[in-house]
């Protein structure tokens, strides 16, 4: 491997610098156009706000809106390797793609619904462990103790690691011959586990990795929520004779709900769409370990079914959108709830809003 010499660094910076220079020039040109158009010619009152949000808006259009629109365009095409350059587009083709998502294998053997159910199971397991273990750790760390700062720092280490790096490191630990887990198991007289080829154990390996990765995020968020709760609630509860479990269920949980709900919604979306862990841990490409997004990737880039995959992606998007709406309705969550919770935090027992 080439070492990081000054020459290499200069070359690398030059390559990045070129792109940055293009972006800077484009932003300057955009701002000048907006300035002359909105300020000088139209004398528009909100010229400055428009100028401030314009670069971000353009970035959003280029990086989000355009790819999604293009995805939708491909979803109504028969694009595959044979029709890579010049695919046909029509509503009928889109309909066929949509039907295929539900009636034909999305991988080599697996159909949509088994993969969908596995994704739901994966998401359910993950969110359950993230929330329960995260809350447990948050409550532990919310008490006075020595070296609390150190524990909190150590807690966020898995979260701070790049997910791909962590996944690949864990994959090494699941190696049959050299992995830490099998070495430990054999040392204590148990059989080594086939983590990579056995469907059950491979799915378990995925879950272990993602629990390790995901708990710190939830713990940090919930710890922040717990720290914002006024102690006076607990003092009053103790005076009324409430036991710890009662305090937890009647004070802690309801009060951190506004913090927990968006964290769970995010957790559901991120886990449902988690690509890195299922993809990298599943080294043997077991279809029994694929969730929707990894199946989508394989359909598109392993099997080159581009039109089908684009429609498949749209279906996944709609599912996720639906789950989020239903969950937010179920817990009566709205963004304004967060603002409301902040207002409540300033109140103490006996005060009125």
């Amino acid at each position: 491997m080439k070492s990081l010499t000054p020459d290499v660094m200069v070359t690398s910076l030059g390559q990045v610098g070129g792109i940055l220079a293009v972006i800077v020039v484009a932003v300057v040109v955009l701002e000048l156009i907006l300035y002359f158009l909105l300020k000088k010619i139209l004398h528009y009152r909100y010229a400055l706000p428009f100028m401030l949000i314009a670069p971000g808006l353009v970035g959003l259009i280029l990086l989000n809106v355009y790819p999604i629109a293009y995805e939708l365009y491909i979803a109504f095409s028969n694009m595959n390797l044979l029709r890579f350059r010049n695919p046909s587009h029509s509503l009928a083709i889109g309909w066929e793609n949509l039907k295929s998502v539900f009636t034909a294998p999305v991988l080599k053997q697996q159909y949509f619904f088994p993969v969908f159910l596995r994704t739901m199971l994966w998401t359910g397991i993950q969110v359950f462990f993230h929330v329960s273990l995260g809350l447990f750790l948050a409550i532990l760390l919310n008490r006075p103790m020595k070296l609390r700062g150190l524990y909190r720092t150590l807690l966020v280490v898995p979260w701070a690691l790049p997910q791909v790096v962590a996944s690949l490191a864990w994959r090494g630990e699941f190696n049959f011959e050299y992995g830490f887990l099998n070495v430990m198991l054999t040392r204590i007289g148990l059989q080594a586990i086939q983590w990579k080829s056995n469907p059950f154990w491979n799915f378990t390996a995925m879950n272990i990795t993602n629990i390790w990765l995901g708990v710190p995020f939830m713990a940090v968020i919930l710890l922040g929520g717990l720290q914002s709760l006024s102690k006076s609630y607990y003092e009053a509860a103790e005076m009324d004779g409430a036991r710890p479990w009662k305090q937890f269920s009647s004070i802690t949980l309801p009060l951190i709900k506004p913090i927990m709900t968006p964290a769970i919604v995010l957790g559901v979306i991120w886990t449902f769409n988690n690509f890195n862990v299922p993809f990298f841990i599943n080294e043997n490409n077991l279809e029994t370990s694929d969730i929707l997004v990894t199946a989508l990737f394989r359909a598109a880039f392993d099997f080159n079914r581009y039109g089908f995959s684009a429609m498949f992606a749209m279906v996944i998007f709609l599912i996720l959108f639906g789950i989020t709406i239903v969950y937010m309705k179920a817990v009566s969550f709205s963004p304004s709830a967060l603002a409301g919770s902040k207002a409540r935090e300033t109140l103490t027992v006996g005060e009125e809003k």
Partner: protein, 406 residues
């Protein structure tokens, strides 16, 4: 040292007839060639590509390279995506079977009119009447490698492999290791059991056959019944086990010979994969080689520079250098007749397997076969599916796949 190597190579180019028939003179203006390759660093082959790219830049300072390594499947996926996005590299150095998807997707150009292909051994990147790649090496085939300290001679057939294997598998050591995750390692045995992945037409899958069932059962038995191979082994695991002396034998490709020669020295033995005792047939690994493929978008001065560089890369001197450095068999006819190539024991061993191999199909339909075989091979080895069920599932998946690429 590097400078002298460059000077030597530069002189070698001039002496070796860089501008032989089919060659194109390098352009005078500045050209930067983005080269993607699946040649890996761990085998030293990526470094070899870089060395020749640097040598060419030393010869023609106006032509520079940006060499990027990508894992084989990642290269296929990324090259297709980059071609669609209009940002394909200028040159690709990869395995022959990528010619199938790349040519069908219309993202590479034929090389018949750009090179004198008669100078090379017959191409495994020819599809129909067109040739889609310039060969760099011959082979890319699997063979049996063994550690002479652990087993004196290679077993001749599978019966001997199993009987010897049982004595070798002891104390945390295994008799034989192979990459259980890739169907590329299944194909030689399929040939040994008398099967083939395609019918005679070269495009109709024939995966649900007795030969496939026997092959899958044999591989499962090696692991479970005879227990002479690890329960799980990917490429990195088999490589490490062999290098650490924890496996007496290994099935791996010619790309790894240079690396194992360095690691084991004289202890490295090379032989054909043992004959299948039940059929008395030799396993037939796929043979192909590494190929330069030129993206369709490459034109003008860049095309001239690319063609000139390929001629340089595959000239006589560099082919011999490749044989010495990487222990790979050359693709240039003239180089195959070289005394070193004919007499080197490692290359001789590689040749003994090569002659038993079968050309790897480059047709797009092969993609369906690979994708169909992989999950079923895994299922059989994991013990979650019988060999017969897996063979049927393979065939169904391959046939279904063919419909999706119509």
């Amino acid at each position: 040292m590097k400078k002298w190597v460059c000077v030597f190579l530069a002189l070698a180019v001039l002496a070796g007839g860089l501008f032989a028939k089919g060659g194109v003179e390098a352009p005078k203006g500045p050209v930067k060639i983005a080269l993607w390759t699946q040649e890996g660093e761990s085998e030293g082959s990526f470094q070899f590509v870089k060395k020749l790219a640097d040598a060419y830049t030393a010869l023609y300072p106006n032509i520079t390279f940006d060499v990027l390594n990508k894992e084989t499947e990642a290269l296929r996926q990324d090259f297709l995506a980059a071609s669609l996005a209009g940002s394909a590299p200028d040159l690709v150095l990869t395995v022959n079977d990528h010619a199938g998807p790349f040519s069908v997707a219309d993202v590479i150009q034929p090389v018949d009119s750009l090179f004198d292909l008669k100078l090379y051994l017959p191409s495994a990147a020819a599809i129909g009447s067109k040739t889609w790649g310039v060969p760099v090496s011959s082979g890319n085939h699997l063979m049996l490698l063994f550690n002479k300290d652990m087993v004196k001679t290679a077993p001749k057939d599978t019966d001997e492999l199993i009987s010897v294997g049982k004595t070798l598998t002891t104390g945390g050591k295994y008799a034989i290791v192979w990459n259980q995750t890739e169907p590329f390692w299944l194909v030689p045995w399929l040939g040994g059991f008398g099967g083939s992945v395609f019918d005679k037409d070269g495009v109709t899958p024939t995966l649900n056959t007795k030969a496939m069932v026997d092959t899958l059962q044999f591989l499962y038995d090696l692991k479970s019944k005879y227990a002479i191979t690890p329960k799980e082994a990917d490429y990195a695991t088999m490589d490490t086990l062999f290098k650490e002396g924890k496996s007496a034998m290994l099935i791996n490709g010619d790309w790894s010979l240079g690396d194992y020669s360095k690691a084991l020295g004289d202890k490295l033995g090379i032989a054909p994969i043992p004959m299948v005792s039940a059929t008395k047939k030799w396993p037939a690994p796929y043979t192909s080689g590494k190929y330069f493929m030129i993206p369709k978008s490459v034109t003008g001065d860049t095309l001239k520079a690319v063609v000139a560089f390929i001629n340089f890369y595959t000239n006589y001197e560099n082919q011999i250098d490749m044989a010495k450095t990487l222990s790979r068999l050359p693709a240039l006819r003239k180089a195959t007749a070289d005394e070193y190539v004919k007499n080197n024991p490692v290359l001789r061993g590689s040749t003994s397997q090569l002659v038993l191999g079968t050309p790897m199909p480059a047709a797009l339909e092969m993609r369906c076969n690979w994708d169909a075989m992989k999950p079923e091979l895994n299922a059989v080895l994991a013990g979650t599916k019988s060999a017969a069920d897996a063979a049927k599932a393979m065939q169904d998946a391959a046939v279904a796949c063919l419909k999706t690429i119509q």
